[in-house]
């Protein structure tokens, strides 16, 4: 009987395996609707103000950028056909002709000038304002534009390929439309209906400049903030694809037939330390924290195994700037942590307050493990749970000891270090007045260089300094997962800085198998 059962099990598992072929793309078909479940309740479509990963998907559907990344993470032409620079200071871009906005206005260099200047205008509150600031934009002729940076800047082309630097119609903007609820770009889809925070419906742009794209006729975005509701919507085929699969559900969904899950590391978790507060102003204390934290336990417990410990600087292993020598700068070593704390003269039972966002399990579980880890080395961390508005305010006032913070890699360029640790960056450093001269110098040096090998040396040095100063404790890369029904084709998950952009990049080439 037992043998029979075993045989049955074997046969059924074989049948099961045969019934679920993995990838069988076939010929792309046009037509069909993609129903997409988003995690953020996007309440503004302003193409220059980032409000979450879901916003990036919407932005890429309606707007284009001058350059773009393709599904192989390569920089490719978009609204600009070609570009040229002799000194990384002055860039001349030739624009594509015959492109029209959704409203019918022809696309010209004036739209580029308007859009870039809008990003730099403080009234806009644009996300990449500081990356473009100081750029002089000149319209050479209708289809040629010249950009002049005050100093050589190798990062500019990458910045121009980010969805946050989308091109809008200057003609349309003259009528002062509410860009938070309307969209008029050159993108592959045209916005038809939008209820802020609830849903957005878009239809194919028949005049899209990439011939044969998009393949889909219609997009229906539903904003389903509740994790279980989002997962159930996919399970019951109420949507075809969801983003931000909750970590607890990744394995469950992988086991379900007819559903595919793709994950990649795109964001990393940290302890952000207020380097002005005693005793955290001593780098030895900060390094002690880095040795005290059990990254393996956090990745297992808080991320259900879908995180990989980060013992070095936050450069993805597939990046050309990945630095093997530093990858194991830290380890889980409470003894070493204790020794460092003793050396720095931190008394046993030192109290610290750990600020934690209450809304996500990955934050609260991480905090609990950190608390237990620190207890072992004689630090008494009190967890303070707060809502997001409070996190943002405390961060911008520098009113915290240390906090758990997840960081999405903003740019596919090691210049992100300027954004993380540069003294002028309002992201983390300027509110607490952090300034490290070595980091400042190296950031400037790296930005001015165009040769990759030369840049590698500079950024390796910069990373060494970052580890030495340890302003943040890097904990782990967290997997960002998307799940979709196997009728959905043409999607490719991207990692690192493009992890949030992946769905947006895929939209024009995605199709539904019928």
């Amino acid at each position: 009987m037992k043998r029979l059962l075993a045989l049955l099990a074997l046969v059924s598992s074989l049948v099961f395996a045969l019934a679920v072929p993995r990838s069988d793309a076939g010929q792309p078909m046009s037509g069909g609707t993609l129903r997409y479940g988003m995690v953020t309740e996007v309440s503004s479509l302003d193409p220059h103000v980032y409000v979450g990963s879901s916003w990036k998907v919407l932005n890429a559907a309606f707007y284009d950028t001058l350059l773009a990344f393709n599904q192989d993470a390569r920089l490719v032409p978009a609204l600009a056909e070609s570009w040229d620079t002799s000194d990384a200071k002055t860039y001349v871009l030739k624009l594509r002709k015959g492109v029209r906005f959704h409203g019918g206005e022809p696309f010209t260099a004036r739209d580029v000038k308007y859009s870039l200047e809008r990003v730099m205008d403080p009234k806009t509150g644009a996300t990449l304002r500081e990356n473009l600031l100081g750029t002089k934009v000149t319209v050479v002729d209708d289809f040629t534009i010249r950009l002049e940076r005050p100093t050589p800047d190798a990062t500019l082309l990458n910045v121009l390929a980010m969805p946050e630097v989308a091109i809008l119609s200057s003609e349309w903007m003259k009528s002062d439309p509410n860009v938070k609820v309307k969209a008029n770009g050159t993108g592959p889809f045209i916005l038809k209906d939008y209820e802020p925070g609830v849903r957005a419906v878009a239809e194919k742009n028949p005049n899209y400049f990439r011939k044969g794209q998009p393949l889909l006729d219609r997009l229906e975005f539903r904003m389903i903030k509740n994790d279980d509701a989002r997962v159930n919507a996919l399970r019951t085929a109420a949507v075809d694809m969801i983003e931000f699969v909750p970590w607890k559900d990744i394995d469950n969904l992988k086991r379900q037939s007819g559903i595919r899950v793709e994950a990649s590391g795109g964001a990393f978790m940290n302890l952000w330390i207020n380097t002005k507060k005693k005793p955290l102003d001593d780098p030895r204390v900060r390094r002690a924290l880095a040795f005290a934290v059990d990254r393996e336990a956090i990745s297992k417990a808080a991320f259900f195994g879908h995180g990989s410990p980060l013992y070095g600087p936050p450069t993805s292993p597939d990046s050309p700037y990945f630095n093997k020598d530093l990858a194991n700068a830290f380890s889980y070593d409470p003894q070493k942590a204790k020794a460092l704390l003793k050396e720095a003269g931190v008394p046993e039972g030192q109290e610290l307050e750990l600020l934690v966002f209450q809304g996500l399990g990955i934050y609260t579980s991480t905090a609990q493990i950190v608390q237990a880890n620190l207890m072992q080395v004689g630090i008494n961390a009190r967890i303070k749970l707060v809502e997001w508005a409070n996190v943002v305010e405390s961060k911008n006032k520098g009113a915290y000891d240390f906090m758990v913070y997840g960081v999405n890699v903003k740019l596919p360029d090691p210049d992100v270090y300027a954004y993380y640790f540069g003294a002028d960056s309002s992201y983390w450093a300027s509110p607490i007045g952090f300034r490290d001269e070595t980091i400042e110098t190296l950031v400037k040096k790296g930005r001015a260089l165009t040769d990759t090998d030369a840049r590698k040396k500079v950024y390796a040095e910069l990373e060494r300094r970052v580890i030495e100063v340890s302003p943040w404790v890097f904990i782990n890369w967290r997997d960002q997962a998307q799940a979709y029904r196997d009728s959905v084709q043409g999607y490719k998950q991207l990692g690192g800085a493009l992890s949030e952009s992946g769905p947006g990049i895929a939209l024009p080439v995605m199709w539904i198998k019928r």
């Binding site: 980032y50 389903i224 279980d228 989002r230 919507a233 508005a389 305010e393 309002s426």
Partner: protein
């Protein structure tokens, strides 16, 4: 009756005014700055950017001035614009009210249709199996939290038996049938809780009334047990049931957060919660004002219903 209405309406208006004033000042006491949230984690700490936006949204004036401006606009029927979307608050609130009311009313209908018969059954045969069962259903109904009932319904009717959608909202004009299908599970979740309350209240109240003198008199004059219950005891025992239903239904307008999140139903509660997290002051104020007004209208309706049933209350 007219006097009664006038008095009630005046009291209601004063209540709404006090409540919304309190709300105005209380939400400004909350830590968290709407401007910073609006600008996202990147743009938020450039003082120049923050200052300009604060000015643009009229948040730079002292609080009392802001209050006077807000009241002035309300009097003219203008609730202002959402910080987040720039859309008129009135428009956003107005589109959500029917969605919330729809679920509440459907839930109420279910609760009354099932709960009152069950309650009467329980009252008339308290010691029989049927009576015992009715109490059991009531207790389970009102004591299971809505997220439990909701999840059980989703597991049962959309994951096991794929009969109904697990969540979502389809505008009624786009597809009326789909719209109703999506409304069933959330309405049932609300209805189950209501039903428990209705059953329990009806049972207790009918039992109370059944031993009253006037019922005994009715029986004595030869009415059947059934007639005495339905014609004499039931109307009298419904008064507390209606009262409690009115209050509960009013509460639900802003208190369906869990149900709306679970079923991804874009009602008034989720709008309010999002506005709170975003510190979208005008939206919070507008949504709460709408909730206050509807709540007061509900209790007015309850009073009227009770007045219809019990003439004594009209003159009280």
């Amino acid at each position: 009756m007219l006097m009664f209405l006038c008095r009630r309406l005046t009291a209601a208006a004063i209540m709404v005014a006090i409540a919304s004033t309190l709300v105005f000042f209380l939400i400004h006491l909350l830590p968290g700055d709407p401007i910073l949230l609006l600008l996202g984690e990147q743009g938020a700490s450039n003082p120049e950017v923050v200052g300009r936006l604060r000015q643009k949204l009229n948040l730079d004036a002292p609080l009392p001035t802001q209050y006077v401006r807000w009241v002035g606009r309300i009097v003219r029927g203008d609730l202002g614009e959402s910080f987040q979307t720039g859309l008129p608050v009135a428009q956003e609130v107005a589109r959500r009210i029917p969605r919330s009311l729809e679920l509440i009313v459907a839930g109420l209908v279910f609760a009354v249709a099932v709960g009152i018969p069950l309650g009467i059954l329980g009252a008339r045969r308290p010691n029989a199996l049927a009576g015992w069962l009715s109490s059991a259903i009531a207790v389970v109904g009102f004591s299971s939290p809505s997220f439990v009932t909701g999840i059980l319904l989703i597991i049962g009717f959309s994951l096991w038996l794929p009969l109904l959608p697990s969540s979502g909202y389809v505008p009624p004009l786009e597809n009326p049938v789909q719209h109703l299908r999506h409304a069933i599970l959330p309405s049932l979740t609300i209805g189950t809780n209501f039903m428990g309350v209705v059953t329990r209240m009806t049972r207790a109240s009918v039992m109370d009334v059944l031993v009253k003198d006037f019922v005994r008199t009715a029986r004595a004059k030869g009415l059947s047990d059934r007639l005495a219950t339905y014609r004499h005891a039931l109307p009298n025992s419904l008064i507390p049931v209606i009262a409690i239903l009115g209050v509960r239904a009013g509460n639900l307008l802003g208190g369906m957060v869990i149900i709306e999140a679970l079923f991804d139903w874009p009602g008034l509660s989720s709008l309010l919660v999002r506005a709170c997290f975003d510190r979208d002051y005008l939206m919070i104020q507008g949504a709460l004002l709408a909730i206050f007004v509807i709540f007061v209208l509900f209790s007015l309706l309850v009073d009227l219903c009770q007045g219809l049933i019990d003439p004594q209350l009209r003159h009280a």
